[in-house]
């Protein structure tokens, strides 16, 4: 009898509480410096959640969300992740950046849940760094660099390139890796390279090195992020160097353009334009919906992956008929050129990221950003390059 009671009690504990809702747990920065990067993507994710609920929910169930603050701290990220798991989340959405999202994603992984990074662009934010049930909705940094390299050669006939790498974070190295892989392949020649740090008070010696080249390079691949990128561009242009400057998506947004007055010949690859001029009407519609929901348009392209990740995850759940992680992961991995508002998306059992994608090319002319076209690299970035 005693054993029977114990067994019943244990069974009672082990059986999940019957719930009519599906719960999405956000372990994200609601305070501290990462908040500015997480908040727009979270807002976009909620718009997609509301849309799904308005259309009758997912498998007939309403989606509800709960959240915990990582306080922009890696240790707090782990406990925020655990808290979401304990509060009954069926999947976890974690901070944009790999370093800040990974501790929470690992908590999800060990509880057997799916996790999605809001916008991580490092291959580690997935199978390689977290585990088999972790994904990111953004486009790998190396793809951004490769897109810039091939686009510059094909569309702007760039023959010579210079690489200026900010060695502060992994993301920057990813962009330059992609560029280094593609630029010579597409027919260009890298004529010089240099490094700097995001917080450097001055990049005068780096500029001296560029100016001492025999001929100004056609393009400069700047692998950096704001604020260091803005400060580098200001100093490069002030020094009278007029080469076309190529970048990763991290410098998207017009909010920093005052730092480099009347900037021209400045190219940014993004997954969707925030200026209402995307070549795909669906993106512009979502941009307007975002503005209506939050009171302001997105300040950078990094709002969009939030929308996309809910969209893709919900599709996979619908197909799997369950929120159970391995079944959803299997469905996600089956996606090959899955159509979305932001172009086709694919996942595989090797890569839980986009190693090729249609990107919008934003060009800044006289301080005004505008889409100049869209571009997809001719071959996906191989895993060996991504793991460099």
């Amino acid at each position: 009898m005693k054993h029977f009671i114990t067994a019943t009690l244990l069974m009672g504990l082990a059986t999940p509480v019957f719930a009519d809702d599906i719960t999405i747990g956000f372990a994200i920065a609601k305070s501290g410096w990462v908040e500015a990067y997480d908040a727009p993507a979270v807002a976009a994710a909620r718009i997609r959640i509301d849309e799904i609920n308005a259309a009758g929910g997912l498998m007939g169930k309403q989606l509800k969300w709960i959240e915990a603050d990582t306080k922009s701290d890696q240790a707090q990220s782990a406990s925020a992740g655990l808290q979401m798991v304990d509060d009954g989340a069926d999947m976890l959405i974690v901070s944009c950046d790999y370093d800040f999202g990974a501790p929470a994603a690992l908590a999800a992984e060990s509880a057997g849940l799916n996790s999605f990074f809001l916008c991580a662009e490092d291959i580690k934010a997935g199978i390689q760094g977290v585990g088999p049930n972790s994904f990111s909705a953004s486009i790998l940094a190396a793809v951004q660099g490769a897109t810039m390299a091939e686009w510059a050669v094909k569309e702007r006939e760039a023959m010579t390139g210079y690489v200026l790498l900010d060695t502060t974070i992994e993301y920057n190295k990813g962009i330059c890796t992609g560029y280094d892989w593609m630029f010579p392949k597409a027919g260009g020649e890298i004529v010089g390279r240099d490094t700097f740090l995001n917080g450097d008070a001055s990049i005068a010696s780096q500029i001296t090195r560029i100016k001492s080249l025999d001929k100004e390079p056609d393009v400069i691949m700047l692998c950096s992020y704001i604020p260091g990128a803005a400060s580098a561009v200001r100093q490069i242009r002030a020094a009278g160097i007029n080469s076309t400057i190529l970048n990763g998506s991290a410098v998207d947004g017009s909010y920093w353009l005052d730092a480099a007055p009347d900037l021209s010949n400045f190219i940014v690859p993004v997954q969707g334009s925030i200026y209402g001029d995307d070549t795909r009407p669906a993106v512009n519609e979502f941009r307007d919906a975002f503005e209506a929901a939050t009171g302001a348009g997105p300040s950078s392209t990094y709002a969009y992956p939030g929308y996309l990740l809910i969209d893709l995850w919900a599709k996979a759940v619908e197909r799997a008929g369950t929120v159970e992680a391995s079944a959803v992961t299997a469905e996600l991995e089956k996606m090959s050129n899955e159509p979305t508002a932001f172009g086709p998306r694919s996942f595989s059992s090797e890569i839980h990221h986009q190693n090729t994608a249609e990107m919008q090319i934003i060009e800044i002319t006289n301080g005004k950003p505008a889409v100049t076209g869209s571009f997809t690299i001719s071959e996906p970035v191989p895993l060996a390059v991504l793991l460099k």
């Binding site: 010696s205 001296t208 001492s212």
Partner: protein, 304 residues
């Protein structure tokens, strides 16, 4: 392009910024044995004072709109005011504490200032275009350098000379030097402690504002974390210069700037990402050879 003058100007201008920041730290250490780690946050505070307080992504100029002739004295006073206020509210109450306790509280003060900025301005870096025309290059003895670099070098020299005159020729300067040598003895001999300390904080804050103006003109961005890196270098400069020695801090500031530029210029590409590691190895080497710093004041050595 002439390589040697170019290198010289690049090194002097970076060194100038470091020297000015180091001077701000050395001044306070001299009078009250406090390594003020909030100094970097004074710099960030002064940069953000230029723009309208708001969490919007696009920054709107506030006092940054004023013409230079008004803006410079205004910002220097803001810097001085913040530093004096932090002395009045925090450090004054810790006069009898150990240097370690004061240093920890300066860290705490730095966190308070940084998080206040975060709250008011949000964490996203902002663009501040102050005097962009100063970044236009001019040609001097075969080197092409932005006008700002010359201004930085000249300003640093002026500040150092002015400070030297202030310390050597005025009563408050005499009192500060006396306080730096031996604070207790100076007080016993009638040096007004509050005036000296407040004066040192005001000067230090004004120097932070000067660094802020240079940084923002050069980089065009305001970021809550922008003071951290420069504070670190400046602190190291004061240590290498010999804690408490003002000329030592300036010389070491220039030295670190020069070493950094030379390393960036001559290290092979593979080693260049580790520039700072080489730089700090040099720092360790210097401290191993001269543990009191290159220009240690006599007062820092035991007399018996």
């Amino acid at each position: 392009m002439n390589a040697i003058p170019q290198l010289f100007f690049d090194a002097m201008s970076l060194g100038g910024i470091y020297a000015m920041a180091a001077l701000g730290i050395a001044l306070i250490f001299g009078v009250m044995n406090l390594v003020n780690f909030a100094h970097g946050e004074y710099i960030a505070f002064c940069v953000f004072a230029l723009i309208v307080p708001s969490t919007d992504a696009v920054a709107v100029m506030f006092i940054g709109k004023a013409p230079a002739i008004l803006l410079i004295p205004m910002l220097l006073s803001i810097g001085a005011l913040v530093a004096v206020a932090s002395e009045f509210f925090v450090f004054r109450h810790m006069r009898n504490s150990t240097p370690v306790a004061m240093m920890i509280s300066s860290f705490a003060l730095g966190f308070v200032i940084q998080n206040t900025l975060l709250l008011v301005y949000s964490s996203r870096p902002k663009a501040v275009s102050l005097w962009p025309e100063l970044n236009k290059p001019v040609s001097i003895v075969g080197a092409s350098i932005p006008l700002l670099q010359i201004i930085v070098i000249v300003t640093t020299l002026i500040v150092v000379v002015a400070l030297a005159l202030l310390l050597k020729r005025t009563r408050i300067g005499l009192e500060m030097r006396a306080a730096a040598e031996n604070f207790t003895m100076a007080r016993l001999l009638g040096v007004r402690a509050n005036v000296v300390i407040t004066g040192a904080f005001a000067l230090s804050g004004a120097l932070a504002a000067a660094v802020a103006l240079i940084m923002v003109t050069q980089t065009g961005v305001a970021d809550v974390r922008m003071g951290g890196q420069i504070m670190l270098v400046a602190f190291i400069a004061t240590v290498i210069g010999g804690l408490g020695s003002l000329p030592g801090a300036v010389a070491a500031g220039f030295l670190i700037g020069a070493a950094s530029v030379i390393l960036q210029g001559f290290l092979p590409l593979e080693a260049r990402p580790f520039r700072d590691a080489f730089l700090y190895t040099l720092v360790i080497a210097v401290l191993l050879l001269k543990p009191d710093g290159l220009f240690a004041p006599r007062s820092s050595k035991p007399r018996v």
